[in-house]
Amino acid sequence: MKIDRRSFLALTIGGAAGTALTPLPWKLTDDSSIWSQNWPWTPVPAKGENSYAFTSCNLCPGGCGLMVRMVGDRAVKIEGLEGHPVNDGGVCVLGLSGLQLLYGATRVKSPMKRVGKRGAGHWKKISWKAALAEVAEKLGKLRDDNQSHTVACVTGSKYGTVPALFKRFMTVYGSPNVMTTPSVSDTLEMALQVMHGVEAQVGYDVENADYILSFGSGLIEGWGSPVRMFRANSAWRESGAKVVQVEPRLSNTAAKSDQWIPINPGTEAALAMGIAHVLIKEALYDDDFIRNYTEGFAGWMLMVLEEYTPEKVASITGIDKMVIVKVAREFAGAGKPLALCGRANGETPGSLAEAMAVHTVNALVGNINQEGGVVAVPVPEYAAWPEIGLDSTAQNGMAKDRVDGAGSDAFSLAESLLNRFAEGAMSAKAYPVNALLVSDANPVYTTPGAKDFKKAVEKIPFVVSFSAYLDETAQQADLVLPNHVYLERYEDMPVMTGLQKPMVGLIQPVVYPLHDTKNVGDTIIELAKTMGGSIGDAFPWGSYEACLEEALGDKWEMLNEDGLWQDEAFQPAAWGEAFATASGKFEFMNPAMNLMPSYVPLNLEGNASTFPLLLMPFDSMRLASGFISNPPFVIKSVEDTMLKKKDVCVEVNPATAKPLGLADGKLATLSTPKGEARVRIYHYDGIMPGVVAIPRGLGHTADDKYMAGKGVNVNELIGSVEDRASGLDTAWGVRAKLAKA
């Protein structure tokens, strides 16, 4: 049949109409929308039985209790444990994001051996057996060559069984070089040692204080146990306690405080001394305490009256004389005044004289070991492990001086000085460092003068990391023997961040290990056994869990049941029994060590004409600045006034920025004697003119695209400045220059 034009058209039109009347187009329309509702690349979470698993958070030293919501064997959400003495249900951004570390791309999934150049990121998987054998062989050889003391070890904390296992290992092995990541706790501990004569941690009864005078402490920016401090801050709002924040920058703490006193950077100790002056001059101090329980007041007092008149202090601190006097009077007049120290989140140890100065302000009003005051809290005691026998190699090694100089004549109070390690290792004055073990720490990122630290590490022939994540330090390692993530393992966690009572939390596994990783406690025990001899003998346990149980002794049962042990009955020692100094009293001065509460100006690196500004790091709860990198959720919470695309924002007062021609939002170069970085200008009225600030916790180079390559690591721009008395880092900032990019 010939199809003519007419029938062709009729067919076409008829066909179209026909199709429209059939269900086909409608069905297709419907199906395509249903398809769009079920795109195969949009995941559908699997269902499962709901339950909760309980553990503790170890992403910071805060010691929060956690409950993890489980669906089947998946952990889907971290929540704060209700009723927990530290956090009672609250939890911070980092704690909430823990599952992204567990399930994230940055995990080390099995032991790995470097194959390419150091830090080039080329690895090959190896077995645990091979990995342990290699470490044992390398360390064994050094020991055979009487070089055991040239092995160094860095751990995150100094408390708890895992650091203790490392210390034990290093001791029987024969090296004194065990270091920990420093913090203000170290300085405060020394202050107690000098002034109280006791080995204890400083606890603050913040909840019961009614006048809080903070010398730059970031009370709601990660200082102490963060969630506990948030709760305290809210309690102060309800009780009407007054909070006075002394700080050059309007931090969140300053903004939340009742009174913000801007101060010239680094002069907090002078203000403390000025307040002491007023307290003494106006006889506002606690006469009973001073008269009966202190030593050396008379001599120190004369110095204070002479050196720290409000006029002088005003000129040092830039604070109005009358404000100083008024604050001192208010402080003395308050029912339960409390002075706090430790700048920002307390990651910088700070000056010992300053810690003593602030402690003295507390002592003057007699709030030592009182309700609402400062408490000397003993470290929780653990059951003793079997004695260890040191062979002659170990004895020789242990007798050597430490690389970092801690415990030497110059720094007799210090146990560990990580800030001095890089220089010691680089100069190899006494001996070179031949091996480095790193666990639960990321010093290549966190140490001020981070670039120098990295250089020192590059020089060390053998570096072993026990990190669960491929962090900056692990990237410099030759071998990574990955730990389980905290949600996969057991570990005790003594909480040493300013609580009033001794407390230990228990980290418990909530999921089965995802990868071929090992609890670092087990790794150490197995390593010791592989090495054998006196070393193996010192580790008689079959597993880390057995060791943990033994160490915790009678605390284990309570810990296992409640996930927490707390010495409920603990009472601070009465003044009569509190002090174990030579005099048996609170000592204002230690003439032997030439130590007393005072203001010691800091010589910042760089000269003021090349670097006219001061750069200070600041802390934010929305960034993790410790050894843990920022998981995607944390990065998502970062304000756009801190990070814009890949550039960190530098806070500059408009009055400082405008003469330099630095418009808000523009790119600029920030340079310091340590280095240079591209930054974005952020005009912030809350920062003192002449001072600029960038957040700590950015600029990671390790980990995946969600975590790395954002902003700069402030530790690469600042260096460390040694405290004369303690040897610890006391740099609160660095000289800097800003110029148009």
Partner: protein, 444 residues
């Protein structure tokens, strides 16, 4: 070559020249299609919109083309309902422009939504409270009406018309066109208004919000009014432009002048209404929400949104063209007429810009700052795409359809028509081309 398809009694440029022009515009069209595919496959991340700029260039383009396409309904309204019979000489072209504008609007909407495959939910799960629901319904219906109005034109193609069925169909459609024109006018009054209502009902956005009469915000009426005023201006503008390009007169002056005069008065009255609205809004509505008029016109980055916008919209692009068009001298002076229709078209586009983009830019939360936006190339390309498509459809329609009834009369051809032999082959080809012309917009 294609002369068999060209309407009787008129002259068209040689086919190669036409083809070359078509190719240039076609290249732009393809660029737009490429961007469109990117957007459809990769999603709206291809744009520079963000959570504060949920409505941006595309919505403006939508509102803009619909306003400019308003010439169709208003001319139809004048011809079929008011009875201005002279307008029959421009109504075809007005309908064609309207058809292009509305099909473009639908296309842009299909790009603009995040889930195009679910667009039909707007009908299935319709929310009667939403201005967009009304827009969607009226817009689709009116597009149907425009298609029906456009079909008889296609049927008038010399070759198509030879088919008796089409000839009769065309004739019958012409008979009932008044009904469709009336329906179209009715629908348009509503959806033009609803588009105005889109911003007018947003009581969370002080810059867009307008007080209501019953359920309709003032902007509802102002949008219909301005489309009726400026749409015909755009029709005149495109007519004049076509004349310029074709190099000959296509519509008699009296027709243009009539339309211009009516537009002028519409525009004049619109501007009065708009001014009253603005004064009331600035002095009553805005302060009740805690703002002053100048909050919306100052302190923004680059001072883009200055009070000049209001002056430009109401004065330069409103009052000025209105005055030109209502004065006889103005209408009759070509330069002035050109100026007036261009300014009026810009004015309505500016109004739509303000009612979309400035509404999004103005900060509402007291601690927020002005939102910035500049379209991505994909947005720009997809916005130019309908322009290219429109030009192509205009070119083809002008070449092959008797769009301008007065063209032959105004441009008599001296030499006898060199009608080529009627081969069967040529015939089939002709139908095909005609079909293409018909199908192209339906695809959009």
């Amino acid at each position: 070559m294609d002369s068999a398809l060209i309407p009787k009694g008129v002259k068209r440029c040689p086919l190669p020249q036409f083809g070359a022009a078509l190719m240039i515009v076609g290249a732009v069209l393809l660029w737009g299609v490429f961007a469109l595919l990117l957007v459809w496959f990769k999603g709206l991340n291809q744009t520079n919109m963000n959570n504060a700029y949920g409505f941006a260039l595309w919505i403006w383009a939508d509102l803009g083309v619909i306003a400019l396409g308003g010439g169709a309904f208003f001319t139809g309204f004048l011809k079929y309902i008011v009875g201005k019979d002279e307008l029959k000489n421009i109504i075809n072209f007005a309908v064609l422009i309207g058809f292009i504008c509305y099909s473009s609007a639908l296309l842009i909407l299909a790009i603009d939504v995040g889930q195009p495959l679910r667009s039909w939910f707007i009908f299935w799960h319709a929310n009667v409270h939403s201005m967009l629901t009304e827009v969607a319904f009226c817009l689709s219906c009116y597009f149907g009406v425009l298609t029906i109005e456009y079909i008889p034109l296609i049927l008038e193609n010399r070759q198509v018309d030879k088919v008796p069925f089409f000839h009769n169909l065309s004739h019958n459609m012409h008979e009932v066109m008044a009904i469709f024109a009336a329906t179209g006018a009715f629908l348009s009054f509503f959806h033009q208004g609803s588009l105005g209502g889109v911003a007018g009902v947003m009581f969370g956005r002080p810059f867009g919000f307008r007080e209501h009469i019953l359920i309709w915000p003032y902007s509802f009426f102002l949008f219909t009014w301005s489309a009726a005023a400026c749409g015909p201006c755009f029709t005149i503008f495109v007519t004049k432009l076509t004349e310029k390009i074709a190099g000959k007169k296509l519509v008699k002056d009296n027709v243009i002048e009539l339309l211009a005069k009516i537009s002028g008065w519409m525009l004049f009255t619109y501007i009065i209404a708009k001014s009253i609205d603005t004064i009331y809004w600035a002095n009553v509505t805005v302060p009740s929400m805690g703002h002053t008029l100048m909050d919306f016109y100052s302190n923004n980055p680059g001072s883009v949104y200055g009070i000049w916008m209001l002056i430009a919209e109401i004065g330069v692009c409103g009052l000025l063209p209105a005055v030109i068009l209502i004065t006889e001298k103005g209408r009759k002076t070509p330069a002035l007429l050109w100026t007036a229709v261009i300014l009026a078209s810009i004015g309505v586009l500016l109004n739509r810009w303000v009612m979309v983009l400035q509404v999004m830019a103005v900060p509402v939360l007291p601690f927020e700052t002005w939102n910035r936006y500049f379209p991505s190339w994909q947005e720009i390309a997809t916005t130019i795409l309908p322009v290219a498509y429109g030009v192509i459809l205009l070119m083809i329609s002008y070449r092959y359809l008797p769009i301008f009834p007065q063209e032959a009369e105004l441009n008599p051809i001296e030499e006898p028509d060199p009608a080529p032999a009627m081969e069967a082959e040529g015939d089939a080809e002709a139908v095909e081309i005609a079909q293409d012309a018909e199908l192209a917009p339906a695809k959009g």
